[in-house]
């Protein structure tokens, strides 16, 4: 595991970016109640590379979705830079997802009808940025991930690794405070996997906070801190 992590976080308390206390998530259908997360408390600092590690179905993706403002919690408190996300309305949450968080998914989740440049431009469009500036920033983000020669390619014309790079460019184009990655290497071969992890590490070294979900033990080496989740609880 890389140096840094919780010790540094404790030293500089004011840099606590994410503070979760007693978080609980329950999924309820008509007759069934499933507790996905229980009593989760954690703190994540600016500049950390945190890996949320656990088996399939242990609740790690649910936790990531809640941290990214994509899902609600049932109980508890979640503060991002001092702001309680549970009190934000839909419009404010959309702004949070747009400006403060960048998402990278296992299945890339690119829009097939848009080329790489247009996919990367999307968050900027929703932020209300002018078209010329959007293009400039999206091109810079694609250059940053090494795809400057593929900007007009559609997702179907790109390899898995390249699609994930486009997804990372889309995640970083708005310069978010935190990048949330849900098994970003799950659909990639070993070579592409390590290339994507190297890219994420580089982004982290440049100051981005990264929270990544994985069940792959070999990726733990890239993180500055690992949070183990077992049956919906933190098992440290």
């Amino acid at each position: 595991m890389r140096q840094g992590g919780k010790e540094a976080c404790e030293r500089v308390e004011e840099e606590n970016m994410i503070k979760v206390q007693n978080l609980k998530k329950v999924y309820r259908t008509k007759n069934i109640e499933t507790v996905a997360l229980r009593d989760i408390s954690l703190e994540i600092c600016q500049g950390e590379f945190v890996m949320i590690f656990g088996r399939s179905g242990c609740g790690k993706s649910t936790l990531l979705n809640i941290l990214g403002g994509m899902d609600s919690m049932t109980e508890g408190s979640y503060r991002f830079q001092g702001i309680e996300l549970g009190k934000l309305n839909d419009r404010e949450l959309a702004a949070f997802r747009n400006k403060k968080a960048g998402f990278v998914f296992q299945a890339f989740h690119l829009i097939n009808d848009l080329n790489a440049l247009q996919n990367v431009e999307m968050p900027l469009g929703y932020a209300g940025m002018k078209r010329s500036l959007r293009k400039e920033k999206a091109e810079a983000a694609l250059r940053r991930v090494g795809l400057e020669d593929r900007i007009h390619f559609y997702p179907s014309q790109l390899s898995g690794g390249q699609q994930q790079r486009v997804a990372i460019a889309r995640a970083i184009v708005n310069k978010p405070r935190v990048i949330l990655a849900d098994e970003p290497t799950g659909n990639l071969d070993e070579e592409n996997c390590h290339s994507i992890m190297a890219l994420l590490t580089q982004l982290n070294q440049e100051g981005a906070t990264i929270i990544m979900v994985t069940h792959d033990n070999s990726l733990v080496q890239y993180a500055s801190r690992v949070i183990h989740i077992r049956d919906g609880e933190i098992a440290e």
């Binding site: 949450l93 400006k99 968050p123 889309r170």
Partner: protein, 127 residues
């Protein structure tokens, strides 16, 4: 002739329902794109406007083609007994039908999506 016009009106109604069905299938396929837009920060109202404009342009395109076809076919359908022609009134009716189809389709999609909590997962605590 009265009977024929009734048949025509029922046919138009059935066609309108069919078009709404096709648009709903088309929009269902767009669900993933909508979800991605939500993840990258789209607000509900903007998405609704985007959807509406897209469906409206499709409807207006279909309406335009219908008007052109009606205009060119009118002479062929006319007989010495009964004159068929494309009037401004008929054009207005087609445009209005297009507008209604677009609005109904978007509203149905939006209401269904919100009800199923598929489109936008809001933060408000739901237990």
């Amino acid at each position: 002739m009265n009977l024929l016009s009734w048949v025509a009106e029922v046919s138009i109604l059935l066609i309108a329902v069919g078009i709404i069905g096709i648009l709903l299938i088309f929009l269902d396929k767009r669900e993933k794109d909508i979800q991605i837009s939500v993840w990258v920060g789209a607000v509900q109202r903007k998405l609704y406007v985007e959807l509406f404009l897209e469906v409206l342009s499709l409807c207006l395109l279909a309406g335009g083609i219908s008007m052109l076809l009606a205009y060119f076919m009118a002479n062929g359908l006319s007989t010495s007994q009964y004159s068929v022609r494309m009037s401004p009134w008929a054009a207005g009716v087609i445009a209005a039908v297009c507008l209604v189809i677009a609005w109904v389709t978007c509203t149905v999609v939006w209401v269904c999506a919100r009800a199923e909590k598929k489109l936008v997962k809001g933060w408000k605590r739901r237990t």
